[in-house]
């Protein structure tokens, strides 16, 4: 087994969401912190896809941003091909590293500059990294990139508003591919798209991975999409990974009660009229997470230990799970 391309160890991001100083002094409000990501560790092998799933506010997008250096980490380390990302990005090798990892964002309407032509949008990373020498060369390269995502090279002269959502997302992909990266971080790339268009974009992403050997971190709340795209899946809850498993294993034998609940909650077109296990409760406020296992208020298996002691992500039967009940064999 080769060394993983991307390795994340004990990654954490704490946001200070305190009220302004005056309010703190006058109203005696305390400082407040959100542990958006709290001790997350995983590794992605070259050419594979790791997917992170979870409900809103579980920290999956924050992980994506930490990985590409859009946020600074509070503690923990991200290693890319043996290099510490935070150190490299602070130093002189930053531009070289940025070329190798790119990001695709969720909203194809907000992530493209409406005043720029597609040519300039896709050529920006090429020019920024000095990968093209002349405008003619840039145009040529943009044409190739647009063809690779199923658009017409002539589209380079158009503006983003002339495209539909799915086509815009392809432009984002073309831009991300411009520097020939090895690693793509995709933050909900198809959540804003209709299903038939989503299928087009997912197919393109899979084709590109096969052809160019790309490594993906794929973030989504849609388990069916994740199942289609990923090799390995990490389930997040309130800033922590609760289960990391191979795709087949996760869907066939989910271990963590939260994973089971998520799988049960999803309506599926092939299971008309099946009995569901009703889901209890809601995601707690991340400002004030419950002590112990943060899932315990909603968990059917919770006991005294779960309320007091935080479970660690342990390797149990080839799957990494953070759950006392699974560890003790109470989960059945």
């Amino acid at each position: 087994m080769s060394a993983p391309l991307v390795e994340v160890r004990d990654l954490a991001k704490i946001f200070d969401v305190s009220p302004p100083w005056l309010n703190r002094v006058v109203e005696r409000k305390p400082k407040a912190f959100v542990h958006a990501v709290d001790g997350v560790s995983f590794a992605i092998e070259r050419g594979k896809t790791l997917a992170l799933v979870g409900e809103s506010g579980c920290g999956k997008s924050t992980v994506a941003r930490l990985l590409v250096g859009l946020y600074g980490t509070t503690h923990g380390a991200v290693t890319f091909d043996g290099q510490d990302v935070n150190k490299v990005l602070a130093g002189s090798g930053a531009s070289k590293l940025r070329r190798r990892m790119q990001m695709i964002f969720q909203d194809p309407y907000a992530s493209l500059n409406p005043r720029w032509k597609v040519l300039d949008i896709v050529a920006e990373p090429l020019r920024e990294h000095g990968l093209v020498k002349s405008d003619a060369e840039a145009k040529q390269r943009v044409g190739e990139l647009l063809s690779s995502v199923g658009l017409n090279p002539a589209d380079a002269e158009k503006f983003p508003h002339q495209f539909s959502g799915g086509q815009r997302q392809r432009i984002s992909i073309a831009r991300a591919l411009a520097t020939q990266p090895e690693f793509l971080v995709c933050d909900e790339p198809t959540s804003a798209l209709d299903v038939s268009v989503q299928a087009q974009v997912l197919n393109i992403m899979k084709d590109l991975q096969r052809k160019q050997g790309l490594t993906y971190l794929f973030i989504s709340h849609n388990l069916a999409v994740v199942r289609h795209m990923a090799d390995e899946i990490g389930v997040m809850y309130l800033g922590r990974l609760v289960e990391v498993a191979d795709k087949a294993e996760l869907f066939a034998r989910p271990k963590h009660p939260y994973t089971r609940m998520l799988l049960d909650a999803i309506p599926d077109i092939h299971m008309t009229g099946r009995a569901r296990t009703p889901v209890q409760g809601e995601v707690p406020n991340p400002l004030n997470p419950p002590p112990g296992c943060s899932f315990h208020p909603r968990c059917p298996l919770a006991n005294i230990r779960c309320k007091a002691e935080r479970p660690q992500l342990l390797e149990i039967k080839g799957v990494r799970v953070a759950c006392h009940a699974v560890e003790e064999g109470r989960a059945g």
Binding site: E55, S56, S164, G165, G166, Q167, D194, V195, S196, V197, Q198, A199, Q200, L202, N203, K206, H221, N222, L223, A224, V225, R227, H228, F251, M261, L262, L263, D264, A265, I266, P267, D268, I269, H270, M271, T272, G273, R274, R276, P278, V279, E282, V283
Partner: protein, 326 residues
């Protein structure tokens, strides 16, 4: 068969603009039986929300009903004057919208909003209305309704707010609920709760539901029948299991194939190339013909009507009658 509760026939909605009239809904016909849940599914811009808006009489101007009829329990409601329609809305048709924050007034307590709706439509005193408001909150699964009734919308979470909106829609015991993407803004675990709730309360009250959504999974789990819309027309309508497992319209086939399944592995998803036409450029004949794999001459010139093609009704000259490849 009982008489339908809602009957929409040949509904046509137009938007006059400076550059000509846009035909947003073109010859839509369907009906909903009492107590039935009809799903309306389609991609953005297919006209599904507009159909819901036309039924509750809340089309945004300049949109207008240009032709066709909407009948509720035999009575025509599409041409009622505003005041009369206001009585129908809430009393006979309840509405649930996508965003639970914008459909509640953030300056009033939920109790006040509920009692206002109740006293407008039912002949109850203020204290009776308050009791009913608390009952409604309890029936939609809100814990401690006696205390919650005096809270403001911002004090509720997204899922709880949508419960309040459902309570509002049910306040006057309507016969029909129009729910427009009621779970789209919610997380999956909350979505499951809201759908179960909608199903339960409608069954208890015997209300029929028109559920507009783009999520086929939600449709599959909730509805009795489903209408698939494309470019302002109904492409296919039929019992939910048949439309999902034995679709006859090539668009429905493509739509079903493009949804990643939870129980099987496919290397590639079936994809429909291209995208839905803009309203300004709907092709002649069948609106789906430029993207259709089964297209032939007739599709380009002559518009197909909904016709019985076996298990479902489809508007297609060359429906897929054999078992669809999965």
């Amino acid at each position: 068969m009982t008489a339908p509760l809602l009957e929409v026939s040949h509904l046509r909605v137009e938007f006059p603009t400076r550059r000509g009239t846009l035909l947003a809904l073109d010859d839509i016909s369907f009906s909903i039986a009492p107590g039935e849940i009809l799903g309306v599914v389609g991609e953005s811009g297919a006209g599904k929300s507009l159909t819901g808006a036309a039924i509750i009489g809340l089309l945004d101007p300049p949109g207008r009903i240009a032709a066709g009829e909407i009948r509720l329990a035999g009575r025509r409601i599409d041409n009622l004057p505003y005041e009369q329609m206001r009585r129908v809305r809430g009393r006979e048709i309840g509405a649930v919208f996508q965003d639970p924050l914008t459909s509640l007034n953030s300056l009033y307590t939920v109790g006040r909003q509920l009692t206002e709706t109740i006293t407008t439509h039912l002949d109850l005193t203020a204290s009776q209305a308050r009791t009913r408001a608390i009952e409604l909150l309890a029936s939609t699964g809100i814990p401690a309704p006696e205390a919650r009734v005096d809270h403001f919308p911002h004090q509720f979470s997204g899922g709880m707010r949508q419960r309040v909106v459902i309570a509002l829609a049910l306040a006057a015991n309507p016969k029909l609920i129009v729910a427009d993407e009621p779970t789209t803004a919610l997380d999956v675990s909350i979505q499951a709760q809201i759908i179960a709730l909608l199903k339960k309360v409608c069954k208890e009250q015997g209300a029929a539901v028109m559920l507009v959504t783009h999520d086929m999974g939600v449709i599959a789990e909730t509805c009795d029948r489903v209408a698939v819309m494309y470019a302002g027309r109904i492409a296919e309508i039929g019992p939910v299991a048949d439309v999902i497992h034995r679709p006859a319209h090539p668009y429905t086939v493509g739509l079903m194939g493009s949804i990643p399944a939870m129980d099987e592995d496919r290397e590639r998803l079936l994809q429909i190339d291209g995208s839905m036409p803009r309203l300004t450029a709907i092709p002649p004949g069948c609106a789906f013909n430029p993207r259709c794999p089964r297209v032939f001459d007739r599709c380009r010139s002559e518009r197909p009507e909904l016709a019985d093609v076996g298990a479902t009704n489809a508007a297609c000259w060359r429906p897929v009658t054999v078992e669809a490849p999965r």
